[in-house]
């Protein structure tokens, strides 16, 4: 039996004048999970988060938090708390006062506030900074203040709007892990907004991919990667080589796809999606092998010249140039990359992969 959702979003729409910021968004958030709203800038992620927080009112639909319909309940009465993109740490209050503010509003006894604040600051490793003013803190420390300030309220769900985007790259990677650890230790669900797919993949239990105010796909990171529902999701999550299909014909158990770059490709019919409008066939870089000899006949192969080999530590990204403009990317292991790097740029190579590794993707699964 599935656990009762802590947040239930049902058919939420948001219109600004005649601009549609969100349309027909529905999903459930489970207790204790990290739920990520992922999508390009302007797709409505923040709007959705703010609707859950009560800072924005939905034009249509319901938000149910912990079994209570939130219609008409203002932000200050909702059992969720938010970490803002700018952190919004109060500049005229010390770290301690910032964290204590939400508890003071609850009129808790002073001693209890003190104990809870100390615990929250401990959790985010800020105990020794409790008397500092926000302008004496680094960006990362200010973010921890915002985290502690929200967590000390013991929310049912913590909402985070692009929590890592204002940090520098190195700190960002460290904070990913730290946020996940923090979530595990406090046990509340996190709903996090990001436009960074690698961040989403690294942290999320489940990801909702948004595009132009619509939910494209909701799945675990691995499922999104292995079975993207359409071209947008496949392209947005990880790297992919995509080939437009001009026409396709079905012959029993097989389908023939006509493409400009690969010519005619025959794939098993089991790969066909329900929606077949504007299809493309695609393959992930790590499935593509690069060789100097003609590959076996059952492989899908294309001839090109060797381009850049981008070293990435344990693996390398290899570019195979097909004609002037098109290219294919392959992910090579350390050993493979070494042999390829020994070759001259421009050497003729064969990029090849197995038919079963291909994905057949509609342009937009929900249209």
């Amino acid at each position: 039996m599935a656990p009762t959702p802590i947040i239930s979003v049902h058919d939420v729409c948001k219109y600004y004048g005649n601009f549609t910021a969100l349309e027909g968004i529905s999903f459930d958030i489970k207790p204790g999970e990290i739920f990520v709203l992922l999508g390009p800038s302007g797709c409505g992620k923040s709007t959705l988060l703010r609707i859950i927080a009560g800072l924005e009112t939905e034009s249509k639909g319901d938000v149910v938090i912990d079994g209570t319909d939130m219609l008409g309940i203002p932000a200050n009465k909702r059992p969720v708390n938010m970490v803002f993109q700018s952190y919004a740490v109060f500049p005229h209050m010390s770290v301690e006062a910032n964290v204590a503010y939400g508890l003071k509003l609850e009129r808790l006894p002073k001693a209890e506030i003190k104990a809870k604040v100390a615990e929250a600051l401990e959790q985010v490793h800020l105990s020794q900074f409790s008397h500092r003013m926000p302008d004496q803190l680094s960006g990362g420390q200010r973010q921890r203040v915002a985290l502690a300030r929200a967590l000390v309220k013991r929310p049912q769900v913590l909402l985070l709007d692009e929590p890592l985007s204002a940090l520098d790259a190195k700190l960002r990677d460290a904070m990913r892990l730290e946020l996940v650890k923090l979530q595990e230790s406090v046990g509340v669900s996190f709903v996090m907004v990001t436009h960074d797919q690698s961040e989403a993949m690294a942290m999320a239990d489940r990801i909702a991919v948004l595009k132009d105010g619509k939910l494209r796909q909701l799945d675990s990171p691995t499922a999104l990667y292995k079975n993207p529902c359409d071209q947008f999701v496949a392209d947005f999550i990880g790297r992919i080589n995509m080939f437009d299909v001009s026409s396709h014909t079905r012959n029993g158990d097989a389908v023939q796809f006509d493409t400009k770059t690969l010519g005619t490709v025959t794939l098993p019919a089991s790969l066909m999606p329900a929606n077949t409008r504007n299809l493309a066939i695609a393959v992930r870089p790590e499935r593509v092998r690069v060789g100097l000899e003609q590959p076996a006949a059952e492989m899908i192969a294309v001839t090109g010249t060797l381009g850049d080999v981008a070293f990435q530590g344990d693996s390398s990204l290899v570019e195979i140039i097909l004609d002037g403009e098109r290219s294919i990317t392959a992910l090579a292991t350390e050993a493979q990359a070494e042999t390829l790097m020994a070759l001259e740029i421009g050497t003729q190579v064969y990029a090849n992969w197995q038919p079963k590794d291909m994905l057949v993707l509609p342009e937009n699964a929900s249209e």
Binding site: A53, P74, M82, Q85, F90, Y101, G102, L105, M133, K153
Partner: protein, 281 residues
Amino acid sequence: MAKLKRDKPGPFEYSRKFSLRFSFFLASVFLYAPIIVLVVFSFNNSRRGGNVIWKGFTTKYYEKAFHNDALIEAFTNTLTIAFISTIFAVILGALTAVVLWRFRFPFKPVFEGMVAMPIVIPEICMGVSLAVFFSQFGLYVPAGTPYPFNLTNIILAHITFSFPFAAMIIRTRLNNFNREMEEAAKDLGATEFQVFRDILVPHMKPGLIAGALLSFTLSLDDFVITFFTSGPDTVTFPIKVYSMVRFSVTPEINAASTILILITLLVTAVAMKFQTFEESH
């Protein structure tokens, strides 16, 4: 780390460049020479204040000023008017600024322009219009009204011309308020009023202080508008000084002006102290 010694001034070492030092010196002379002369000659043992010949040190003109009841009364009136009108100007200015910043309503630009109007209207017009307004509506204070209510007309006039300045300053301060701050407070459980009290007012504080300072000094030395709205029993310091100067310039006026300058400096210093105290805590 050892401090480096350089002979040539670096690009940001303005204080070491001769040209900059010289221009600073020039500006200081222009700004402060008249005031220094005024202060110095308030101690001059000469019967005429316009006399630029030093006749020896004396404090007798301070004594004289302190025993000049009419002057003291004018002085007290001025301070009272400045104090009361500042309080109202800042409250009114803050409310106006918050309304203009916070809400969208029809004809808002018209309203904004109307608020800013007293800043550009010549003082003489304001003075005349206020005088006419008060007399047309019979809003004059009857003789014998107890202090400080006998100053009501002048106080009202001063609030009228100083609150737009306060509103402008506070409005400017509000422009760099991060709205997420307000939302964060709400998210933590604050009501609209608590957001205003705990987040918005502290943010406005430097603007409130600056607005108060400006209102106070505007009121302190206003001549034109006060002239049109004061009666024979409600003389303020600038008007008193003007009438004394018409009679003869004595070092007594220097002395009284010096005290006024001191009070202005003191108020500014207290306000600045208050502000830096806020910032360091």
